[in-house]
């Protein structure tokens, strides 16, 4: 039977749900999830890059050319600020690589003092 939501007639009915959320293809559901997140991250990177391309095109029409962007030389102050931002980014993204992480497993009890 068709279903309604509020006052709206949706003309929908019950359906049999797919169960792809319950399967792991890579031997560990965490790895599966990381892989999916990487695909999603790629889409987000492209979304931002595409917007930058649009901005470049619009700026070009205002006299700021893509070549001017390429040739831009940051000021010393900008260099220092950007360096700090890069360091934060690197730490935020890759800091986990320095984690030891093998001392405990999920069933480990508190360490004796």
């Amino acid at each position: 039977m068709a279903e309604t939501k509020g006052k709206r007639q949706e003309y929908t009915t019950d359906f049999i749900k797919a169960d792809i959320g319950n399967v792991s293809f890579l031997g560990n559901v965490h790895i599966d999830n990381i892989m999916t997140a990487l695909i999603a991250m790629g889409a987000e990177i492209w979304t931002d890059r595409r917007r930058i391309r649009v901005l470049e095109s619009l700026l070009e029409k205002k006299g700021v050319t893509r070549d001017m962007v390429e040739q831009y030389v940051p000021t010393a102050e900008e260099e220092a600020t950007w360096k700090k931002e890069r360091e934060v980014l690197v730490d935020r993204m890759y800091g986990q690589f320095a984690r030891q992480g093998s001392e405990f497993n999920i069933s480990s009890d508190w360490k004796n003092k």
């Binding site: 695909i39 889409a43 987000e44």
Partner: protein, 372 residues
Amino acid sequence: MARDGKQTDIEPRGTNGRLERLPTADLEANDEFLTTFRAWANGPLTQAANARAREIMTARGIDPEAEMPLARAFEPFADDAVIQARHHVWLHAQNLMWRNLRRELHDNYDGYMAEMEAADASGPGTLELNPNLAIPDYATHEIHLQPGGYVGDPFAGHLYHYGTNNFYTGRNNQDELHRRYASSVPAPADKTVRRILDQGCGCGQMSVALKERFPNAEVWGIDVSGPMVRYAHMRAVDLGVDVRFAQRLAEDCKFPDGHFDIVTSYILHHEVTAEASRGITREAHRVLRAGGIYYPIDINTAGTRGMVAGAGPFNQVRNWMSHRWTHERWLFEYNSFDHATETRRVGFEVTEDGSSSGMGGVRGNILGVKRA
């Protein structure tokens, strides 16, 4: 697509030819990335997975053409990183695409519903909805992982249209395939085409293309799904094409005997059970007049090659992945179904030289003519 509940037929970013652009630049960019990603997964990554499968079979002395019990067919490939990665990204990129589209539609529910409601009673063309239609169980699966499947989401038509644009990796954004297949539909020998039925019309692309091909004919598009025919009608109204859409079953369409000159369908049969497929063909025969054309376009309906050409354990695994994890629920029934024989059985004169859907890249579809 609409986003403002107070207005109808909103195209906030205009159209690209026949296709309304997605409503935000970010969604469009996200969608185009996942489309490019799908092309990569289906191309270079799949080729790499196929190469790994061949290497594994050679190393283990497995005949790449020999069938084996399915449970055993998985084992040689189970630990291969490339093959498993291919399985994963193929499915989960598809799932991400659906999730992003669905979120946009449901986050802006009122606007999109208002747009369809306004179109329901508009023309050209007509829309018939049947909220009391008993939906067969076979049609209630989330085929292709589409959220809600064809019948469970009010925006099933929107989702199907933009989702399949992703599947076609951009080759059908202007209905190119539907127009090509509509142009390949033969007219009856007496050249009289007054009425055409498009069975299982989905979001209506084939029905619209048929009306454009045969402008003087009355074209009907029917589908089990109310949301599908609603979207199909709305889109036909936008395009200014006069098609009659109705929520009816292809196997019990309620039209009089001998009513149509042409009955066609586009990739319908591989989404239904073998029993339903037989019923749909019987119904096509009933509603066609003598000399009428039956042209069910699908993947390799001529012969029994089904959806995946070739045999052997790796193809068995790939078939299983499609069947089980993209929820091509009826794939195995379709692969084992002999359309030409079944179509002859209901009384058609059959030839096997029509065009295929193009998805398998192999020509070979059946064409039926109702005997006088």
